[in-house]
């Protein structure tokens, strides 16, 4: 059974300006995927299209075999959750309140939280090691803590797929590794698929099972080793200062 299937997908904001053309992907078992591309290449646009926040220009997005842009499959809130870089208006809310919002697709019309929801909320906080933060205000958190809490919210939504848009962009290096490891662990211990858009090429090479590379309005996808062997990776970062080292599986600075 396919978890996520993209067929002949063209994405972009305007028909005359397609960002990425003809994307074809079929994810069958759960894994960690990193989506790489330059600024403006269409990473966020792709994540937004998959999560139905915007319409594709052409093609289909299917979740478990259901086309998400058909009327009858209107609600995908139990299948895909997102972690964005958006700023929020109400930063006075507590961590617990924020994470409990993730249960909305499962609560009744008034949003009453039941015991099983409470359990799920605590479990989600435990996975990201944020239980101690639960009574703190979101505005009081450090960037690293905040990111873990937002991941907890997505976990509480209990979906097959979690999409993260540049989850480590404000973090120091130690926290970057922490978040990536956390996401890796989520994939290993649950049956969730995690798709991360990121600029951390070296981290992605270390941790992801599969990479999606966006370059010149095309998307190349494949296992990390395959992409390294094909030289797709080494051509990907086009910089006079960097060099790809196949043994170390990472980019290093050239010697002066």
């Amino acid at each position: 059974m396919s978890i996520l299937k993209l067929t002949n997908l063209d994405i972009g904001y305007k028909e005359e300006n397609v960002l990425v053309k003809d994307i074809n992907i079929n994810i069958v078992n759960n894994k960690l995927i990193c989506l790489l591309g330059c600024n403006g290449a269409g990473k966020s646009t792709l994540l937004k299209t998959i999560s139905k926040l915007m319409k594709p220009i052409n093609g289909k997005v299917e979740l478990s075999g259901n086309d998400i842009f058909l009327k009858k499959n209107n609600n995908i809130s139990k299948r895909i959750s997102i972690v964005l870089t958006d700023k929020i208006y109400e930063s006075n809310m507590t961590v617990y309140e924020l994470v409990s919002l993730g249960r909305q697709p499962y609560t009744d019309w008034f949003g009453n939280i039941r015991d099983e929801d409470r359990l799920k909320i605590l479990e989600s906080l435990a996975i990201t090691d944020s239980i101690d933060l639960k009574d703190k205000k979101v505005s009081e958190l450090s960037d690293g803590q905040a990111q873990k809490v937002w991941i907890s919210r997505a976990l509480a939504q209990d979906t097959d797929i979690i999409l993260l848009d540049e989850p480590t962009s404000h973090l120091d290096f130690r926290n970057k590794i922490k978040i990536f490891n956390l996401l890796k662990n989520i994939v290993l211990t649950t049956d969730k698929t995690v798709i991360i858009s990121t600029h951390e090429v070296n981290l992605a090479l270390k941790i992801a099972e599969e990479l999606w590379l966006i370059r010149n309005d095309k998307m190349i996808e494949g296992k990390v080793d395959k992409l390294i062997d094909n030289e797709d990776i080494s051509g990907f970062v086009d910089s006079e200062y960097l060099l790809f080292n196949k043994e170390l599986k990472q980019f290093i600075f050239k010697k002066d």
């Binding site: 139905k52 926040l53 964005l84 208006y89 909305q104 697709p105």
Partner: protein, 334 residues
């Protein structure tokens, strides 16, 4: 739980402020008389009872108006994600004023004087609603393009000045009698309603509250942004449109009956937030509704200047109370 105490406390204050509001005024009426009136049949012919009935009507108006405008403010603040939004500040009330101005001062051109009194007051409500809908629609359209908090406020201000410019032009050409009628309406008055008007106001109020309650769950997820709300299955478009209609109609009807009341819609949601330290809009909604009634009852009691025979325009009192709160909020934001 402390919140249970709080709600009891708030309800008790509402009741006491209500009774105080009825008993105070240019004529002092002892509490026992008021209870007598409320508990006995209402047909006794006594001049004191006439006063009580007049004050009772006025106090019910205050409760519905205060509560209604406050919840409109709460919803507008959350829909626009803007702590300074409210029906008055964003110009929805001005839209109503424009509708009413066109109705009162422009009526010479298109009303038939044979039409009855009820139809007249209903068409005034209608034109007020149309004005509110018009301005709110314009603000919604701009707010989709402009995300910045202050820009939306400035656009609202511009719509208000635009509306008042048209009102000025109308006033310039209208008869002095109609102009006077309009000017008195803009001062705001809670005492011009009869029981029929109250029933209409109550009907619209109850319907709006029910629709608002249905929006509470999706509104809660909107706190973390439209994208997140949408990803949790909320149709942001439907939610926006519902709030837009309910706020416009409720503000329109209220404004038609009592005039443009300033700052209640903006200030009361913040008082509620100060009282119950939560961001759960379901809790805030309840407290905002009750506090709105309390605040307008208090403002009305002050406006009557207890012990004297004068009474201030209600709008002056609400501004005296509301404007400092706005300044406080802006300072707090810095």
């Amino acid at each position: 739980m402390p919140r249970t105490y709080k709600i009891v406390l708030v309800l008790i204050s509402l009741l006491s402020v209500w009774i105080l509001n009825i008993s105070l005024g240019s004529v002092n009426i002892p509490f026992s008389e008021i209870f007598d009136y409320l508990l006995s049949d209402m047909n006794k012919e006594n001049w004191e009872y006439t006063i009580i009935e007049y004050r009772l009507l006025k106090s019910i108006t205050a409760i519905l108006v205060g509560s209604g405008l406050s919840v409109c403010g709460l919803f507008m603040q959350n829909i626009f994600q803007n702590p300074l939004a409210g029906p008055y500040v964003l110009g929805v009330s001005s839209g109503s004023s424009l509708g009413v101005a066109v109705f009162i001062m422009g009526s010479a051109f298109f009303t038939n004087s044979l039409l009855g009194q009820t139809i007249n007051s209903l068409s005034m409500v209608l034109s007020s609603c149309l004005g509110a809908l018009g301005v709110f629609a314009l603000i919604m359209t701009t707010s989709i393009r402009v995300k910045n908090t202050l820009s939306v406020l400035i656009v609202g201000l511009m719509f208000s000045s635009f509306a008042s410019a048209i009102v000025n032009v109308l006033s310039f050409f209208s008869e002095s009698e109609k102009l006077q009628q309009f000017v008195f309406w803009t001062f705001g008055s809670l005492s011009d309603l009869d029981w029929n008007d109250i029933y209409i106001l109550l009907g619209v109020f109850v319907l709006s509250i029910l629709l608002f309650i249905k929006c509470l769950k999706p509104m809660n997820s909107l706190k973390i942004g439209e994208n997140y709300a949408q990803s949790m299955g909320v149709s942001v478009k439907t939610l926006r449109n519902t709030v837009f209609f309910v706020v416009s109609i409720l503000t329109g009807v209220i404004t038609a009956y009592v005039g443009p009341i300033a700052f209640i819609g903006l200030a009361v949601p913040h008082l509620a937030k100060l009282l119950v330290k939560t961001t759960d809009i379901r809790v805030l909604f309840l407290y905002t509704a009750i506090l709105g009634a309390i605040v307008l009852l208090v403002c009305d009691t002050i406006a009557q200047l207890p012990g004297s025979q004068y009474s201030l325009p209600i709008n002056a009192v609400t501004s005296l109370f509301g404007a400092p709160i706005v300044i406080f909020l802006i300072l707090k934001k810095q």
